[in-house]
Symmetry: C2
Subunit: 315 residues, 2 copies
């Protein structure tokens, strides 16, 4: 196994990219960005082995890729364009050089795909592997926040939810081949950057769905001091998804509303806003104090055991 500084040299080589956003990159005490008069937007996300991922269910390449996308997704939710990122790794003593470089290559692939070069980071020894990614984006418009939803707004969802959670359950139940498309959603999620940039001038509020639709929507409701009503029959679910979810013992709607890690965007906008095909309308904002209710086609309230994932509560 190589020591800290040999590893940094090799990582630097693998991550080196030309970017006119950057004056000084990996290898000094800090990275220096090219001056910009736009608002800078910052976010940090950590992925911990055994909590957010498990090495049996994904290659190190996938784990690197998805950790990076998870961090970028917060920039999408703010309507920001990614600029650069920093990656801080804690690695156990037995973590092999080759695994490290596969991880870095996965990170590099995502950094290239989203044009957000890694300009710095940190390596530390530790008992449990973790990846902490800081992302810096920018915006020339007002940032999209969680607190702008108003009674009368419609609630929209980009893409479909529950698919990554179903993929993870396929892996946990030894059904990888059967659910390979869903497994791919979990291993290689995408951040809705382009959609977020468009929404910056259309939406009244937005959040990315990392922990589960109901839970993430409740953050918007609390921040905006409103309630939300979700129409269960408006949630986009397809037959393949429903069949496989049932086969694995899950209620398809519940998994869609509470399963996380799809990194779709949930947003609100006044009803007459032309949202240009950016999402499916799934409900509406009403007066209230931060609650989310789900209604079936006959307007009866549906209840769910958990709204989504939260640390120190979920087992």
């Amino acid at each position: 196994m190589s020591d800290e500084f040999s590893r940094i040299e090799e990582i630097k080589r693998r991550l080196l990219t030309d970017s006119n956003e950057v004056q000084i990159t990996i290898g000094d005490d800090g990275a220096v960005l090219t001056p910009s008069d736009a608002s800078q937007i910052l976010s940090v996300d950590a992925q911990v082995e055994g909590i957010h991922f498990c090495r049996d269910f994904a290659t190190w390449n996938d784990i690197g890729y998805r950790s990076f996308v998870a961090a970028l997704s917060d920039l999408a939710a703010m309507g920001a364009q990614p600029r650069v990122a920093l990656v801080s790794l804690i690695l156990p003593i037995e973590f092999a050089d080759n695994d490290l470089y596969c991880l870095i290559d996965g990170i590099s692939e995502a950094a290239t795909a989203y044009r957000s070069p890694v300009v710095g980071g940190n390596l530390s020894a530790g008992a449990q592997m973790s990846i902490t990614t800081t992302v810096i984006g920018q915006s020339r418009k007002e940032a999209l926040t969680r607190n702008g939803a108003r009674p009368g707004d419609a609630i929209y969802l980009t893409g479909r939810v529950g698919r990554a959670a179903l993929g993870l359950r396929c892996l946990q139940n030894d059904k990888e081949a059967r659910g390979i498309d869903f497994v791919h959603c979990w291993r290689r999620p995408r951040a809705r950057i382009a959609e977020g940039l468009k929404l910056a001038r259309l939406a009244s509020a937005a959040i990315d769905i990392s922990d589960g639709l109901l839970q993430d929507l409740s953050h918007v409701c609390r921040a905006s001091n409103v309630n939300a009503e979700i129409n269960s029959d408006a949630i986009p679910l397809d037959e393949t998804y429903c069949d496989l979810a049932k086969e694995l013992g899950h209620y398809p709607l519940a998994l869609a509303l509470t399963g996380g890690e799809d990194y779709e965007l949930l947003f609100t906008a006044p009803r007459d806003t032309p949202i240009e095909g950016l999402g499916t309308r799934i409900g509406r904002i009403v007066e209230g104090t931060g609650k989310v209710v789900v209604l079936d086609e006959r307007k009866r309230v549906l209840t769910f055991k958990n709204a989504g994932y939260r640390h120190w509560q979920n087992k």
Copy 2:
């Protein structure tokens, strides 16, 4: 124990500060900074329990404070003014709320002292406690880097080194009362921000000493493609330090040159630069390819077992 979101609310309350650098702070998907046309400088540092600190040797308040200063020290070495920070915590299930809030108060104390408010972060469950701090600073001058040292430059050191390492050894040997001043250096280090800002227009290269003077100087030498000669008798050591180091079985000079975590700055400048009392001259830069030698008063080369701390090499 509170769940993730209750903890975030309480942390937000404890960290809330007014700052005209910030448009949106903790509580959304990302933080938004006020636009600035200066160069933004980024760095990240992780402190892991059992590697960088041990809960027997410091309060959570101290651990929070020093983790923040360690991160800011990289901005000092770049000649940058701190602006804001993000703090990502991994906390074991048994980590108590009260310990968490003591940690946050220590972070808050450092954030206030260095006018660098915490504007975001992340909480995650995990087996081993760690603190990952991202700092964002800015500079209107050219950043101080590691690669500008030239043959003929003098090498300088702010303050004194070895003191934090001696403090840690006092704690490890049950001599806290005997070495309380040194223990304080380890528990409550300071980042040389003001010195870094002045050095931005004076120094040819700089680095902060986190891992040990010899090792950190060797980074400067490799980045600048030069050698360094340190005069051992120029290293500032006082009698109290030397006596206690010897009492604990350490060669005072070796501990000063290889012990880390003082967060002093090491810098180089052409010999005739008026460095305004910012440091002690301890050696010179000569032609070479990245080596550091230490000479005694008769110009004999002294050798040391380890130059400093590096992960996956030091035990």
